[in-house]
Symmetry: C2
Subunit: 300 residues, 2 copies
DNA sequence: TTGTAAGCGTTATCAC
DNA sequence: GTGATAACGCTTACAA
């Protein structure tokens, strides 16, 4: 059996409430007793039972991050950054993954209403897009924050990259590389994808470029793998590739690759702080927060 | 405020203990009352307070997975597989990430002794290798299981791929491709790396191959990125590349790439079941469990 | 079939 | 400064 406050109280000949206070530095008590308590607590290897503490305080000092899967950098980079940022604030971050499974997804959202965490960072997936469970959770006032993708209509802060600016930059780079048209691999699979699609079309118009036709072509997309696949399948030889986050290996022949990184660390930190605001004061700026992207990197 | 058993009891004119039993299908009680209780619970949106339940039962039906970082497939693939497997067994999986930080690492291990989870799957990192906190945790009899990497000397089940056989297979493929020597990129960074290094050397001897000299060369390693870098830096043109888990893109000129996948899903499932054994019966086979690798894939 | 009551390990509000 | 004492919300014998 684990040591409890009672064991320490018995060993020190005092009351459990005194031990509790001593161990939390709360209240004023004689230095002598305090030291004795702390010493025996250490000797007995005392660890507070968090279930009991949570029950009485109603708070867990724990934040969950809900994620569909962890493969993508857009999922695990924010997780890592938020974990260390929140740790510094005295909170533990736990990542819950539902892997596209509706039942698991809903169960995890349900858990949040059961005193297992004080708030949650949501990396929205397609499941969230019409999730009754998520709407219900948000309706209770439970503190949530979206990172990167979000669900329109749910009143919670959203932290994203400055996607419009980033896409405009990529299109400008495409034009500078001599492209007269572009293959656009952004779609409408989520809010980020959608925003990039719209921003890219707008920027193309500004540069007098078109989506199809003849002449030197650029490829713009989110993901290296997808871009490579399309190039192979359709035999495209672009003069420029614009891609988010990363490109492994060298640039293809006669082609400039422009990589637009995203600052997931800042995104996670801003999101964490917004969440802490909501958790601690129940007040929250529920709008959109755009994190500037680092300078683009040119390969080849 | 959230609805509690008392609210339902009041609404139904019965006792909280009756509500508790009705909601868990425990005990026998009149169908009428049971239905009324269930209906009002649903109407009031009742969700059991898990902190309270954990306190009284001493169990959380939660498993933690401890991971250094989530970038590598060896980290997130087991996480995803274990999450869905454990969900089916009535447990929630939460991933805790310490990102190479000693303080965070120890704090998370400490949490496990504080009734936040019933057991843990450990993806051992360099921090665990001489972690006093991990040794202390294991010494308490807290149920843990290692997946992939492990910490020698800690009495807990270890689930790995059949690395010896896999390495022997890669060396055989190298020989078949005409290689007379091999550049080995396995090191001694962790237990898996080490095991592969030894197994590969042994297999090379069996095939009469050497680590350096002249003649057609093979490169054997864990990671595509590392292999590509070494090839570039040292200007090596291998006749065969043996790599674990994945190779993106085509094979280099005049080179066969043999990819040896690992079955992380099975590994995670076996590990989960071993952990459940330990958690539920406190009995456990503490040895090594090797999961066969899927057939190797040949590219080029 | 249902109610009573004890208790899980803490924290917090009082007295003294 | 320190000790009773009452919660927190739930489960679980044991009575009735």
């Amino acid at each position: 059996m684990a040591t409890t406050l009672r064991d320490i109280a018995a060993a020190c000949g005092c009351d459990t409430s005194t031990v509790s206070r001593a161990l939390r530095g709360d209240g004023r008590l004689s230095a002598d007793l305090r030291d004795r308590i702390i010493a025996t607590a250490a000797r007995l290897g005392y660890r507070p039972n968090l279930a009991a503490r949570h029950l009485v305080t109603g708070r867990t000092r724990t934040v969950w991050m809900l994620s569909g899967g962890l493969e993508a950098p857009t999922d695990h980079l924010p997780a890592i950054a938020a974990a260390s940022h929140l740790r510094g604030r005295g909170y533990d971050l736990l990542v819950a993954v539902h892997q596209g499974d509706r039942e698991g997804h809903d169960r995890l959202l349900g858990r949040m209403r059961q005193q297992v965490c004080d708030g949650a960072i949501i990396l929205a997936s397609h499941l969230d897009q019409d999730s009754h469970a998520l709407v219900a959770l948000a309706a209770t006032g439970f503190p949530i924050v979206f990172v990167d993708r979000h669900v329109p209509g749910i009143p919670a802060p959203v932290v994203t990259s400055a996607n419009k600016a980033a896409c405009a930059g990529l299109v400008a780079a495409a034009a500078a590389a001599g492209a007269q048209r572009a293959v656009i691999l952004f779609g409408r699979r989520n809010t980020v994808d959608s925003e990039r699609l719209d921003a890219t079309h707008a920027a193309l118009r500004d540069h007098g470029m078109v989506a199809d036709g003849r002449g030197p072509v650029a490829i713009l997309g989110q993901d290296e793998q997808v871009i490579r696949r399309i190039m192979d399948q359709q035999g495209i030889h672009p003069c420029m590739i614009g891609v988010f986050d990363r490109w492994t290996g060298p640039a293809p022949q006669d082609c400039t690759v422009v990589v637009q990184p995203q600052d997931f660390t800042s995104m996670a930190e801003v999101a964490s702080d917004l969440l802490l605001d909501r958790m601690e004061q129940h007040v929250a700026p529920s709008g959109k927060h755009e994190i500037p992207c680092p300078a683009a990197i040119r390969i080849g």
